[in-house]
Amino acid sequence: MLMLAGLICGFVFGWGLLISGMMQPAKVLAFLDIFGAWDPSLLVVMAAALAVGSAGYAIARPRTPLFAARNLWPEKATIDAPLVIGAALFGVGWGLTGLCPGPAIENLATLSPRLIVFVAAMISGMALHHLWQRRREAAQQAILAANADG
Protein backbone atom coordinates (compact mmCIF):
# COMPACT_ATOMS: atom_id res chain seq x y z
CA MET A 1 0.00 0.00 0.00
CA LEU A 2 2.94 2.28 0.74
CA MET A 3 4.13 1.72 -2.81
CA LEU A 4 0.70 2.45 -4.32
CA ALA A 5 0.47 5.66 -2.28
CA GLY A 6 3.94 6.67 -3.48
CA LEU A 7 3.03 5.98 -7.11
CA ILE A 8 -0.22 7.97 -6.96
CA CYS A 9 1.36 10.91 -5.12
CA GLY A 10 4.27 11.01 -7.59
CA PHE A 11 1.77 10.97 -10.44
CA VAL A 12 -0.36 13.79 -8.99
CA PHE A 13 2.77 15.81 -8.16
CA GLY A 14 4.06 15.31 -11.71
CA TRP A 15 0.79 16.45 -13.27
CA GLY A 16 1.00 19.56 -11.11
CA LEU A 17 4.46 20.30 -12.49
CA LEU A 18 3.33 19.60 -16.07
CA ILE A 19 0.12 21.69 -15.99
CA SER A 20 1.81 24.59 -14.22
CA GLY A 21 4.56 24.70 -16.87
CA MET A 22 7.27 24.13 -14.26
CA MET A 23 8.65 21.15 -16.18
CA GLN A 24 10.04 23.66 -18.67
CA PRO A 25 13.30 25.18 -17.34
CA ALA A 26 12.83 28.24 -19.58
CA LYS A 27 9.65 29.16 -17.67
CA VAL A 28 11.41 28.78 -14.32
CA LEU A 29 14.29 30.97 -15.54
CA ALA A 30 11.74 33.57 -16.70
CA PHE A 31 10.52 33.71 -13.09
CA LEU A 32 14.05 34.09 -11.74
CA ASP A 33 14.80 36.81 -14.33
CA ILE A 34 13.28 39.72 -12.41
CA PHE A 35 15.32 42.25 -14.42
CA GLY A 36 14.12 40.86 -17.76
CA ALA A 37 10.74 39.77 -19.15
CA TRP A 38 9.55 38.62 -15.72
CA ASP A 39 7.05 35.74 -15.56
CA PRO A 40 5.51 35.53 -12.06
CA SER A 41 3.83 32.14 -12.72
CA LEU A 42 6.09 30.24 -10.28
CA LEU A 43 4.89 32.54 -7.50
CA VAL A 44 1.28 31.52 -8.23
CA VAL A 45 2.30 27.85 -8.31
CA MET A 46 3.89 28.19 -4.88
CA ALA A 47 0.96 30.15 -3.44
CA ALA A 48 -1.57 27.56 -4.63
CA ALA A 49 0.61 24.65 -3.48
CA LEU A 50 1.07 26.27 -0.07
CA ALA A 51 -2.66 26.95 0.34
CA VAL A 52 -3.63 23.33 -0.43
CA GLY A 53 -0.55 21.84 1.25
CA SER A 54 -0.92 23.69 4.56
CA ALA A 55 -4.64 22.82 4.71
CA GLY A 56 -3.76 19.17 4.07
CA TYR A 57 -1.02 19.23 6.71
CA ALA A 58 -3.47 20.73 9.22
CA ILE A 59 -5.74 17.73 8.59
CA ALA A 60 -2.80 15.28 8.74
CA ARG A 61 -1.13 16.65 11.88
CA PRO A 62 -3.37 15.10 14.57
CA ARG A 63 -3.89 11.85 12.63
CA THR A 64 -1.96 8.63 12.15
CA PRO A 65 -1.17 8.09 8.45
CA LEU A 66 -3.17 5.39 6.68
CA PHE A 67 -0.26 3.09 5.83
CA ALA A 68 2.44 3.94 8.38
CA ALA A 69 2.91 3.99 12.16
CA ARG A 70 3.24 7.76 12.49
CA ASN A 71 3.86 11.02 10.65
CA LEU A 72 7.57 11.64 10.09
CA TRP A 73 7.74 15.43 10.43
CA PRO A 74 11.31 16.76 10.17
CA GLU A 75 12.62 17.26 13.71
CA LYS A 76 15.66 19.41 13.06
CA ALA A 77 15.03 23.03 14.04
CA THR A 78 18.40 24.82 14.07
CA ILE A 79 19.45 27.08 11.22
CA ASP A 80 23.06 26.03 10.67
CA ALA A 81 25.84 26.55 8.14
CA PRO A 82 25.14 23.37 6.09
CA LEU A 83 21.53 24.52 5.58
CA VAL A 84 22.55 27.95 4.27
CA ILE A 85 25.57 26.77 2.25
CA GLY A 86 23.60 23.87 0.77
CA ALA A 87 20.70 26.13 -0.20
CA ALA A 88 23.15 28.60 -1.78
CA LEU A 89 24.90 25.88 -3.83
CA PHE A 90 21.53 24.59 -4.97
CA GLY A 91 20.53 28.16 -5.87
CA VAL A 92 23.57 28.48 -8.15
CA GLY A 93 22.74 25.26 -10.00
CA TRP A 94 19.05 26.20 -10.20
CA GLY A 95 19.88 29.64 -11.57
CA LEU A 96 22.29 28.22 -14.17
CA THR A 97 19.71 25.79 -15.61
CA GLY A 98 16.20 26.47 -14.27
CA LEU A 99 16.12 22.83 -13.11
CA CYS A 100 15.39 21.57 -9.62
CA PRO A 101 15.21 17.84 -8.74
CA GLY A 102 11.46 17.24 -9.37
CA PRO A 103 11.21 18.62 -12.92
CA ALA A 104 14.67 17.17 -13.72
CA ILE A 105 13.57 13.62 -12.83
CA GLU A 106 10.20 14.05 -14.56
CA ASN A 107 11.90 15.34 -17.73
CA LEU A 108 13.82 12.04 -17.99
CA ALA A 109 10.74 10.81 -19.88
CA THR A 110 11.62 13.18 -22.75
CA LEU A 111 14.94 11.29 -23.20
CA SER A 112 16.70 14.59 -23.89
CA PRO A 113 20.45 13.71 -23.85
CA ARG A 114 21.53 16.91 -22.10
CA LEU A 115 18.84 16.45 -19.46
CA ILE A 116 19.98 12.86 -18.83
CA VAL A 117 23.53 14.16 -18.30
CA PHE A 118 22.18 16.77 -15.86
CA VAL A 119 20.32 14.11 -13.83
CA ALA A 120 23.41 11.84 -13.84
CA ALA A 121 25.49 14.78 -12.50
CA MET A 122 22.78 15.57 -9.93
CA ILE A 123 22.74 11.99 -8.61
CA SER A 124 26.57 12.03 -8.57
CA GLY A 125 26.40 15.20 -6.47
CA MET A 126 24.03 13.46 -4.05
CA ALA A 127 26.34 10.43 -3.89
CA LEU A 128 29.35 12.71 -3.27
CA HIS A 129 27.49 14.25 -0.35
CA HIS A 130 26.65 10.78 0.98
CA LEU A 131 30.33 9.70 0.88
CA TRP A 132 31.57 13.00 2.30
CA GLN A 133 29.13 12.80 5.20
CA ARG A 134 30.10 9.21 5.99
CA ARG A 135 33.78 10.14 6.04
CA ARG A 136 33.04 13.10 8.30
CA GLU A 137 31.05 10.93 10.70
CA ALA A 138 33.86 8.34 10.77
CA ALA A 139 36.41 11.09 11.50
CA GLN A 140 34.25 12.44 14.34
CA GLN A 141 33.95 8.98 15.88
CA ALA A 142 37.73 8.54 15.64
CA ILE A 143 38.21 11.84 17.51
CA LEU A 144 35.68 10.79 20.16
CA ALA A 145 37.42 7.43 20.56
CA ALA A 146 40.85 9.12 20.84
CA ASN A 147 39.53 11.52 23.48
CA ALA A 148 38.05 8.63 25.44
CA ASP A 149 41.43 6.90 25.40
CA GLY A 150 43.34 9.98 26.48
Binding site: F67, A87, G102
Partner: protein, 141 residues
Protein backbone atom coordinates in the same frame (compact mmCIF):
# COMPACT_ATOMS: atom_id res chain seq x y z
CA UNK B 1 4.69 39.73 -18.16
CA UNK B 2 3.64 38.44 -21.57
CA UNK B 3 4.24 34.81 -20.57
CA UNK B 4 2.31 34.95 -17.28
CA UNK B 5 -0.06 31.95 -17.02
CA UNK B 6 -1.86 32.38 -13.69
CA UNK B 7 -4.70 29.89 -14.25
CA UNK B 8 -2.59 26.87 -15.22
CA UNK B 9 -0.08 27.87 -12.53
CA UNK B 10 -2.82 27.86 -9.87
CA UNK B 11 -4.28 24.52 -11.01
CA UNK B 12 -0.83 22.90 -11.21
CA UNK B 13 0.24 24.38 -7.89
CA UNK B 14 -2.93 23.09 -6.21
CA UNK B 15 -2.15 19.57 -7.52
CA UNK B 16 1.40 19.81 -6.12
CA UNK B 17 0.01 20.83 -2.73
CA UNK B 18 -2.55 18.02 -2.94
CA UNK B 19 0.18 15.46 -3.66
CA UNK B 20 2.20 16.70 -0.66
CA UNK B 21 -0.89 16.46 1.59
CA UNK B 22 -1.83 12.99 0.28
CA UNK B 23 1.70 11.66 0.83
CA UNK B 24 1.61 12.81 4.48
CA UNK B 25 -1.92 11.46 5.05
CA UNK B 26 -1.10 8.07 3.51
CA UNK B 27 2.58 7.42 4.30
CA UNK B 28 3.45 10.10 6.86
CA UNK B 29 6.32 11.30 4.64
CA UNK B 30 7.39 14.72 3.37
CA UNK B 31 7.13 15.15 -0.42
CA UNK B 32 10.66 16.44 -0.96
CA UNK B 33 12.05 15.19 -4.25
CA UNK B 34 15.74 15.57 -3.37
CA UNK B 35 15.11 13.62 -0.17
CA UNK B 36 13.12 10.91 -1.93
CA UNK B 37 15.84 10.47 -4.59
CA UNK B 38 18.82 11.01 -2.29
CA UNK B 39 17.41 8.53 0.22
CA UNK B 40 17.94 5.79 -2.35
CA UNK B 41 21.72 6.23 -2.28
CA UNK B 42 23.75 3.78 -0.21
CA UNK B 43 23.46 0.20 1.05
CA UNK B 44 20.49 -1.10 3.02
CA UNK B 45 18.37 2.00 2.45
CA UNK B 46 15.11 2.02 4.41
CA UNK B 47 11.76 2.23 2.59
CA UNK B 48 13.20 1.93 -0.87
CA UNK B 49 9.95 0.75 -2.50
CA UNK B 50 7.70 3.77 -2.06
CA UNK B 51 10.56 6.09 -3.07
CA UNK B 52 11.01 4.24 -6.35
CA UNK B 53 7.21 4.14 -6.83
CA UNK B 54 7.02 7.94 -6.37
CA UNK B 55 9.75 8.47 -8.98
CA UNK B 56 8.02 6.07 -11.38
CA UNK B 57 4.77 8.03 -10.89
CA UNK B 58 6.61 11.25 -11.72
CA UNK B 59 8.18 9.84 -14.90
CA UNK B 60 4.86 8.32 -16.05
CA UNK B 61 3.34 11.82 -16.27
CA UNK B 62 4.91 13.04 -19.53
CA UNK B 63 4.24 9.62 -21.07
CA UNK B 64 0.56 9.63 -20.04
CA UNK B 65 0.40 13.32 -20.97
CA UNK B 66 1.40 12.64 -24.54
CA UNK B 67 -1.24 9.85 -24.69
CA UNK B 68 -4.04 12.27 -23.76
CA UNK B 69 -2.78 14.97 -26.13
CA UNK B 70 -0.82 16.98 -23.57
CA UNK B 71 2.36 17.66 -25.48
CA UNK B 72 5.59 17.80 -23.50
CA UNK B 73 8.32 19.89 -25.10
CA UNK B 74 11.96 18.88 -24.72
CA UNK B 75 13.48 20.86 -21.84
CA UNK B 76 15.59 23.83 -22.89
CA UNK B 77 19.09 23.21 -21.54
CA UNK B 78 22.20 25.39 -21.31
CA UNK B 79 24.29 25.50 -24.48
CA UNK B 80 27.37 24.24 -22.65
CA UNK B 81 27.91 20.65 -21.49
CA UNK B 82 30.26 21.91 -18.78
CA UNK B 83 27.59 24.20 -17.32
CA UNK B 84 25.08 21.32 -17.45
CA UNK B 85 27.39 19.01 -15.48
CA UNK B 86 28.50 21.64 -12.95
CA UNK B 87 24.91 22.75 -12.33
CA UNK B 88 23.79 19.14 -11.88
CA UNK B 89 26.54 18.48 -9.33
CA UNK B 90 25.64 21.69 -7.45
CA UNK B 91 21.91 20.85 -7.38
CA UNK B 92 22.63 17.30 -6.14
CA UNK B 93 25.23 18.16 -3.50
CA UNK B 94 23.53 21.40 -2.42
CA UNK B 95 20.07 19.93 -1.90
CA UNK B 96 21.48 17.08 0.22
CA UNK B 97 23.72 19.39 2.27
CA UNK B 98 20.85 21.85 2.78
CA UNK B 99 18.35 19.06 3.45
CA UNK B 100 15.84 19.92 0.73
CA UNK B 101 14.93 21.59 -2.53
CA UNK B 102 12.04 23.59 -3.98
CA UNK B 103 9.54 20.89 -2.96
CA UNK B 104 10.81 19.76 0.47
CA UNK B 105 11.78 23.23 1.74
CA UNK B 106 9.90 25.53 -0.65
CA UNK B 107 6.49 23.86 -0.40
CA UNK B 108 6.34 21.24 2.37
CA UNK B 109 8.57 23.18 4.78
CA UNK B 110 7.08 26.60 4.14
CA UNK B 111 3.58 25.06 4.50
CA UNK B 112 4.65 24.00 8.03
CA UNK B 113 6.20 27.47 8.59
CA UNK B 114 9.48 25.74 9.45
CA UNK B 115 12.18 28.38 10.15
CA UNK B 116 14.82 26.17 8.49
CA UNK B 117 12.74 25.86 5.32
CA UNK B 118 11.84 29.55 5.23
CA UNK B 119 15.57 30.35 5.49
CA UNK B 120 16.61 27.80 2.85
CA UNK B 121 13.88 28.97 0.45
CA UNK B 122 14.90 32.62 0.82
CA UNK B 123 18.57 31.70 0.25
CA UNK B 124 18.11 29.56 -2.89
CA UNK B 125 15.61 32.02 -4.40
CA UNK B 126 17.86 35.04 -3.89
CA UNK B 127 21.01 33.20 -5.06
CA UNK B 128 19.24 31.87 -8.19
CA UNK B 129 17.87 35.36 -9.00
CA UNK B 130 21.41 36.80 -8.67
CA UNK B 131 22.86 34.04 -10.89
CA UNK B 132 20.25 34.70 -13.60
CA UNK B 133 20.80 38.47 -13.35
CA UNK B 134 24.57 37.95 -13.75
CA UNK B 135 24.40 35.45 -16.60
CA UNK B 136 21.68 37.26 -18.55
CA UNK B 137 22.27 40.95 -17.89
CA UNK B 138 25.84 41.44 -16.67
CA UNK B 139 27.76 38.79 -18.60
CA UNK B 140 25.19 39.02 -21.40
CA UNK B 141 24.75 35.26 -21.95
Amino acid sequence: MANFTPLSAAIGGALIGLAAALLMLSTGRIAGISGIVGGLIGWNVPDRDWRIAFIVGLILVPISGSLVGYAVADPQMPASWAVTVIAGLLVGFGTRLGGGCTSGHGICGVARLSPRSLTATAVFMVVAIIVVALTRHVLGG
